[in-house]
Symmetry: C2
Subunit: 218 residues, 2 copies
Amino acid sequence: MTEKTTTTTTIQLPEPTLRRLPWYLAYLSTLKKSETEYISTTRIAEALDVDPSQIAKDLSFLGIRGKTRIGYQVDALEDKLRDFLGFGRRHNAIMVGAGSLGAALIADSGLQRYGLNIVAGIDVNVSLIGSKINGVEIFSPERLAELVDRLGVVIGIIAVPVDSAQSVSDLLSSAGIKAIWNFTPSRIRVPEGVVIANTSIYSHLAVMYNRLSLRDLQ
Amino acid sequence: MTEKTTTTTTIQLPEPTLRRLPWYLAYLSTLKKSETEYISTTRIAEALDVDPSQIAKDLSFLGIRGKTRIGYQVDALEDKLRDFLGFGRRHNAIMVGAGSLGAALIADSGLQRYGLNIVAGIDVNVSLIGSKINGVEIFSPERLAELVDRLGVVIGIIAVPVDSAQSVSDLLSSAGIKAIWNFTPSRIRVPEGVVIANTSIYSHLAVMYNRLSLRDLQ
């Protein structure tokens, strides 16, 4: 992927819009193979089961408008979406916890394609320290602040056991991290000004299990 | 973890409640070390930054009530939550896509602890077929239906490239899968009666990047 110097969005978008925009981007990337040049909101709407007027509204945040009866130019819309979402920029990140989930995320090349550049890992397990996962070196916790500073890390990712989540978050905040991506099922508190994103995989499991058990009753 | 034979919930809970219950469970597990016997909603509320009355309401779905001035018995509440959320039961799952993210999820022992039992993997990459990740064998796609049937698979997990997500979902549905856990940023459609859960890691990245770029402006 080529580095781009375009600016990312600087307006506070509603979270539902921000969650839908990547769907549109994902859908557009599937059109590449069919060499579709223009796409209408109606067709995107059919494919994604989203209201066409909602799509038009979401895309208007990008300052991009479709042509009447023709729609949006696929390549231009895809580029615009990628830039707008920040996927075209590099965001340096540090992974705290290089156990099963942490190591997994370090190894996921998909994150790199979406602009997340994991530059180092941290773990308390001495057998991991000094090892590399996907080219990313694992360091001991006391190196955290120095690494954040030296490597220009802006995002701290937390994939540690539940009872260490808050203390790791505190460490990251005091090291000057600007955003925390929390993969633990634990709720953590961050100082004002630090962005927090929670991806609680296990909460999604709970929702799925509940829906499954209801389905079995029918 | 010991197998339990208690029944999981059979009421349709509001999704926000289902998302909060795992936070409570995670918090309770951090109390074990301190040997706390009783916990009040007030203390849970302080720790998790959730309204105490909301917590009492969420927990009332479990048919469990705290004692006045004492609160909930920690062990009993933890067991009840785990059973209620289905984390104590085994749910057999098949992972479609054993690339970086898929392999990562197979290797994540955390999922096992939350009741997800990945029994097989599927990949189109011939160099992966026959190999094992964390003891889980990878098979070719034509084995899908047979494996689902023979291994009693109820959940299909999708971690394939975006443009294969829908076709894989269709395959899983026709193989008789009851729930699909979609890790791709793609929206997929499922037949009526099939449960769908979406975990779009990359959408969370988009939200985080947007909040970060706003923060930089301040």
